[in-house]
């Protein structure tokens, strides 16, 4: 099942809709890479609220997506990891090292606003 990607302002929002197969995750990576270029997006939110499990493969993919988007000039934030899912990730020893996370969409947007704020060159 394809993941819909919405454009909101300077950001992209990818809302994962159901349990994802590996192919879906790979496809999500490719389409986000393309869209970030197409829309010159500075930030990407990946909403994983509906994921029932984030296993080592999904963790590796989410990290890879975030790192790839960073190289394309965009910040990534993962939002909506459920408490049980987070608990299982901790038990598995999985971390989303180097990837932004936030509670929900609203917090994710706030996170990207801080991360992508342009700092004036002269310091003012």
């Amino acid at each position: 099942m394809q993941v819909p990607i919405l454009k909101q302002g300077g950001y992209l929002i990818a809302s994962i809709q159901s349990v994802l197969s590996d192919a879906d995750l790979l496809q999500l990576r490719d389409s986000l890479g393309d869209r970030v270029g197409e829309f010159r997006s500075r930030g990407v939110i990946i909403d994983v609220t509906v994921l029932d499990v984030i296993d080592s493969f999904a963790t590796r993919m989410l990290r890879a997506i975030a790192h790839m988007l960073k190289l394309r000039g965009a910040e990534t934030v993962i939002v909506g990891i459920q408490p049980d899912v987070a608990f299982a990730m901790v038990q598995l020893g999985l971390t989303l090292e180097g990837v932004g996370t936030a509670l929900d969409l609203e917090e994710g947007l706030a996170y990207l606003d801080t991360k992508t704020k342009r700092i004036p060159a002269d310091g003012n």
């Binding site: 994802l20 029932d52 499990v53 296993d55 493969f57 299982a88 990730m89 598995l92 999985l94």
Partner: protein, 142 residues
């Protein structure tokens, strides 16, 4: 009540199926939401190992009762998950069980992680013959 589920594992999509069946069975047996997710995560890892390292195999899940020899005490109900394949087998099981060890640029978290998630974990692997992982999780005493 369905107390046994068998899932053939050939592709990544089958991992999702196995996970969902495990979730359903665990719920029926009386595990709570957090425990069901831990079980689903363990199933996901062993099923993925079949796809990644052995290409195909099967996962059989059933309800079990602990025996007197179990170090968790006898007479406890639980879930048993068997992941079986006839793949290449693992040359050094102790090494494969180490956190971070992977022969395929994976995270190397699947086997040690699944062991942490479950109450009992046993792995039997023979070179050229295949691998069987048997895991159990017990319900709390009533």
């Amino acid at each position: 009540m369905e107390t046994e589920a068998q899932t053939e594992i050939h592709s990544a999509a089958d991992i999702v199926t196995a996970r969902q069946r495990g979730r359903t069975l665990a719920l029926q047996l009386g595990f709570n939401g957090a425990e069901v997710t831990l079980i689903a995560a363990a199933i996901s890892e062993v099923a993925r190992n079949i796809v990644d390292h052995a290409k195909k195999g099967e996962i059989v899940m059933s309800s079990v009762m602990s025996s007197a020899t179990s170090n968790s005490g006898s007479g406890r109900r639980g879930i048993q998950i068997i992941a079986r394949d006839e793949g290449p087998g693992i040359p050094d099981v102790a090494q494969a069980m180490q956190y971070g060890y992977s022969t395929r640029r994976g995270l190397g978290v699947g086997l040690p992680g699944a062991k942490w998630l479950m109450d009992e974990f046993d792995i039997d692997s023979r070179l050229g013959r295949g691998t069987t992982v048997t895991m159990k999780k017990w319900l709390p005493y009533k």
